[in-house]
């Protein structure tokens, strides 16, 4: 809990991560529009994919910075030598990352709806479920991998290289589910995808909690 509060306070004081990610999201939107051209039909078909592409790219930036404060301010040893269960640190960081990602995703979603003229009001609950399930999966592995790559050289390269293949199934599931939801279909029609996401969430968080001690060993 303390870790979450600490991270939140750091974020609110500096706000740089949130602002930077917001602008990054905006830029992505422009680039999607430019890359896909004025063809509305083609754009509409790719929207679920683009949305999650935006989420994941922002996530890579945001999650990759999970431990940057500790690393830059030489507090890394403090983390390693902290007594007690290191998994508490994991949960704290995970909660913080979840919050950060959900905020960014909400902003991105609103921007998407605005720029691409989506009517998401009706499908919001279903969309929220899909986004929540997917985000937990992203944040759970992202937090773990961020800790592992924090002290490695070329960490900015290694982090995405490790995270993206692992998240491929999650990406498949979320895009397919989002596609269905945006078309107005009920959540039941994509129950299998949701179950897969839920299973992924459980597995990833469990592995994260169980292995974090080994990652933060002194």
């Amino acid at each position: 809990m303390i870790v979450v509060w600490k991270d939140l306070l750091v974020e609110r004081r500096s706000k740089e991560t949130l602002n930077a990610l917001f602008f990054f999201g905006l830029l992505l939107l422009f680039i999607f529009q430019f890359a896909l051209g004025p063809d509305r039909e083609r754009l509409a078909g790719t929207l679920p994919g683009l949305l999650w592409l935006g989420f994941i790219l922002s996530g890579l930036l945001g999650l990759g910075r999970t431990f940057v404060v500790e690393r830059e301010n030489d507090c890394w040893e403090g983390l390693l030598l902290a007594p007690g269960d290191k998994s508490a640190i994991y949960v704290g960081k995970l909660a913080g990352n979840l919050l950060l990602m959900l905020v960014i995703e909400t902003i991105l979603l609103v921007l998407f709806a605005f720029f691409f003229n989506l009517d998401i009001a009706g499908v919001l609950p279903g969309l929220a479920v899909v986004i929540a399930l997917g985000t937990v999966a992203l944040a759970a592995v992202g937090t773990l991998f961020a800790a592992m790559t924090a002290q490695v050289r070329a960490r900015e390269l290694l982090f995405p290289v490790l995270l993206l293949p692992v998240e491929a199934p999650v990406l498949l599931a979320t895009v397919k589910a989002t596609e269905a939801v945006l078309l107005g279909e009920p959540l039941g029609s994509v129950a299998h995808w949701l179950k897969l996401l839920a299973a992924a969430d459980v597995v990833y968080v469990a592995v994260g909690v169980l292995t974090f001690d080994f990652v933060l060993e002194a």
Partner: protein
């Protein structure tokens, strides 16, 4: 001892070759191109075997901190990536005459490609951490995450390719295959498994020698 095992492996491989070409008949629908299956399917099997061993060795290392477990994981991951790459390559070569295209996002090729990149990342991680002990620990964690991800990859890709999209591409693999083809396939399975064991033991020994040389 090792030489004997190497010899046995070689005999196994040759047997597999003979069965694949000499004894197994020309397949009815695909023609002789189907013989590539005797390479492709055993490769995929070995890859899964290898990554399963990585999982077990990774857990063993975290629990017991035995260097030998770490070396086994490393060696098995390397051989696994080797055979995964081979699976993709042979699958692609099979695909060109069969489906007319070098690449297709069918269930098997897609999931195997994801596996390939995952474990390539594993090897990359190992290469980038200089501290031997930390490298072993992190690789073990990654090995566990990657292994648990395999079923997720499987299901997601399979559903992606089959739901709302009837498989229009021929799905390679067993099913109603004549016995002689199954026999040839099994022979190659065995041969490739022997090759896997041979490669992993030699690679693990190499890692031990390298560690001793640095000491």
């Amino acid at each position: 001892m090792r030489r004997l095992f190497g010899g046995v492996t070689l005999v196994g491989l040759l047997t597999g070759l003979v069965m694949g070409f000499g004894i197994a008949p020309r397949e009815a629908t695909q023609g002789n191109v189907q013989r590539i299956m005797y390479l492709h399917v055993p490769s995929v099997w070995v890859a899964y075997l290898a990554f399963g061993v990585v999982l077990v060795a990774s857990i063993a290392y975290l629990v017991r901190r035995a260097e030998s477990a770490d070396r086994l994981a490393h060696a098995s991951a390397e051989v696994g990536v080797l055979f995964t790459g081979l699976t993709i390559a042979t699958g692609s070569i099979w695909g060109k005459p069969t489906w007319g295209t070098w690449w297709t996002w069918d269930a098997r090729l897609t999931s195997v490609s994801i596996l390939f990149v995952m474990y390539l990342g594993y090897l990359l991680l190992r290469g980038m951490i200089d501290d031997r002990e930390r490298g072993a620990r992190f690789a073990a964690v990654l090995g566990i995450v990657a292994a648990f991800n395999i079923p997720l990859v499987h299901f997601s890709v399979y559903w992606w390719r089959t739901l709302h999209q009837p498989p229009s591409l021929m799905k390679p693999g067993p099913g109603t295959m004549p016995g002689i083809i199954v026999a040839a396939l099994l022979a190659n399975f065995a041969a490739f498994t022997l090759l896997y064991v041979y490669f992993v033991t030699r690679r693990a020994r190499l890692l031990r020698l390298e560690a001793e040389a640095e000491a």
